[in-house]
């Protein structure tokens, strides 16, 4: 048994919210630099150059990379032997988000009700996904999710007979339809299998994986490479102005599913695919 006080959780979440929004991860930065080399369109190269400049300004001046600092999506892996003291874990995470978005001068983008649409003023509540694991670890990952890209995501309940070709068509169709809206070059997270909500969660989780790491399952790894190649033939290009570099990576996760189903979810991220993790 290990005890963790909520005070350290609040501090950690606060810092992760700020770090994720200010500092572009090195895997993304490397991919952007590589895409600059590969881009054939002049205007596309210019856009990538400005995106890299933007990340550098954000880092050095401690500014948000993008004004859409997102809804805070929080993944918590909590060991079953961890005991939280001093208050509620969920309340602590929300307090960390509240402080991080206030102290970091991040935008408050959450409305209390989807129809009434009054801003909560502090970017809470967060979207929190808990995963109970063995042992006494406590890992927190924050992935601020902007809605320019979230809005272009999609989910489809395919038939088993649609097979892998059906999956490929749906991914390609979703990205093609999204066009310039999700701020390309994008990162594409895909979840295949499970139930409807499991597929969506897999797609979201796929976006946490560094984009220079491929899935270990051989056919999934090939599918990731094939889909990246296909997406980069769509012509959308950086900012959607036309070009070769529409996506930086495709990350796919799979899960067992029902004999009657083949759910597929495609969750799109912009070029500022943001996430920060910490282990307490």
């Amino acid at each position: 048994m290990r005890t963790v006080n909520v005070a350290s959780i609040i501090d950690t979440v606060e810092k992760l919210c700020i770090d994720a929004n200010y500092y572009l991860n090195s895997d993304i930065l490397n991919a952007l630099e590589n895409s600059f080399e590969k881009e054939e369109s002049d205007i596309g190269r210019d856009i990538i150059k400005q995106i890299i400049q933007n990340a550098n300004i954000a880092r050095s001046e401690k500014m948000a990379i993008c004004q859409d600092t997102g809804m805070a999506v929080v993944f918590v892996d909590i060991g079953q032997d961890v005991h939280i003291t001093g208050g509620s874990l969920t309340a602590a995470i929300n307090e960390g988000v509240r402080r991080g978005y206030s102290k970091g001068y991040l935008r408050k983008s959450v409305v209390k009700d989807p129809i009434d649409r009054v801003n909560t003023g502090d970017n809470t509540p967060a979207i929190i996904h808990y995963n109970i694991v063995e042992g006494c670890t406590l890992k927190i990952a924050i992935a601020p999710k902007g809605f320019g890209s979230e809005n272009m995501s999609g989910l489809k309940m395919l038939k088993p007979s649609d097979g892998i070709e059906g999956v490929k068509s749906f991914i390609l169709e979703t990205v093609d339809k999204a066009g310039p809206n999700p701020c390309p070059p994008i990162v594409v997270g895909v979840g295949i299998g499970g139930t409807m909500e499991k597929a969506a969660l897999l797609a979201k989780k796929a976006l946490l994986r560094p984009i220079d790491q491929r899935n270990e399952v051989e056919y999934v790894c090939s599918l990731e490479r094939e889909m990246l190649d296909k997406i980069n033939k769509l012509g959308i290009g950086p900012a959607g102005f036309g070009g070769r570099m529409t996506a930086l990576a495709v990350n796919i996760e799979v899960y067992p599913t029902h004999i009657a189903g083949l759910p597929v979810a495609v969750n799109i991220n912009c070029h500022a695919t943001r996430h920060a993790e910490a282990e307490l």
Binding site: I47, N54, K62, D68, N119, C183, I236, G237
Partner: protein, 184 residues
């Protein structure tokens, strides 16, 4: 072609702008997004005077981050324009000549642009820190209760943008994509 634009943006200038041209915008532009548009249009339909002049103006679809003390504004890149498609034609009809945002527009907006003479500029989505550096003053001029969605009067210097859809209906999103698309 590269243009240096000084606002207000007149219809004569609009005529010279072609899809694919790059522009550097200088002067006053207005920030407004979802909530502000909804209210502006309801005021317009009620016959109320709008809180800022629309004729020959540019609206930038943006909801900025808060400014640090001593700074003008926080990160301030474009938001997705299609959410303003329901409102834009009415504003174009009363003289709006420019919109800055990112992403696709619908046919109603493009038709209104062609009929009345307006242009749609794309700013780089996700380059909010870079764009913030071109904003030299900021003032909330209407609906402060909307927070980040309030209407702001921004003075910009060398604000970088690209003409996406011109007043003739040419669309860089279509032509650019077609040029690099490989059939598969």
């Amino acid at each position: 072609m590269k243009h240096i634009i000084q606002t207000p943006l007149t219809k004569d200038t609009v005529k010279n702008l072609k899809a694919g041209d790059t522009v550097s915008i200088n002067g006053v532009i207005y920030a407004a997004r979802d909530a502000a548009h909804k209210r502006l249009i309801s005021w317009l339909h009620m016959g109320k005077t709008l809180p800022f002049e629309i004729e020959d103006q540019i609206i930038y679809y943006v909801g900025p981050c808060p400014a640090r003390p001593g700074e003008v504004i926080g990160s301030a890149g474009p938001t997705t324009s299609s959410r303003m498609d329901a409102y834009a034609p009415d504003l174009i009809e009363i003289g709006l000549t420019g919109m800055i945002g990112k992403g696709l527009r619908n046919n109603d907006v493009i038709s209104a642009m062609m009929k009345h003479g307006a242009v749609y500029f794309g700013a780089i989505g996700g380059a909010g820190a870079l764009i913030a550096k071109t904003i030299i003053s900021e003032e909330v001029v209407a609906f402060p209760e909307f927070g980040t969605e309030a209407v702001r009067k921004l003075t910009v210097k060398d604000f970088p943008a690209t003409v996406i859809i011109d007043s003739y209906g040419n669309n860089l999103y279509d032509t650019g994509k077609l040029k690099y698309r490989i059939d598969q």
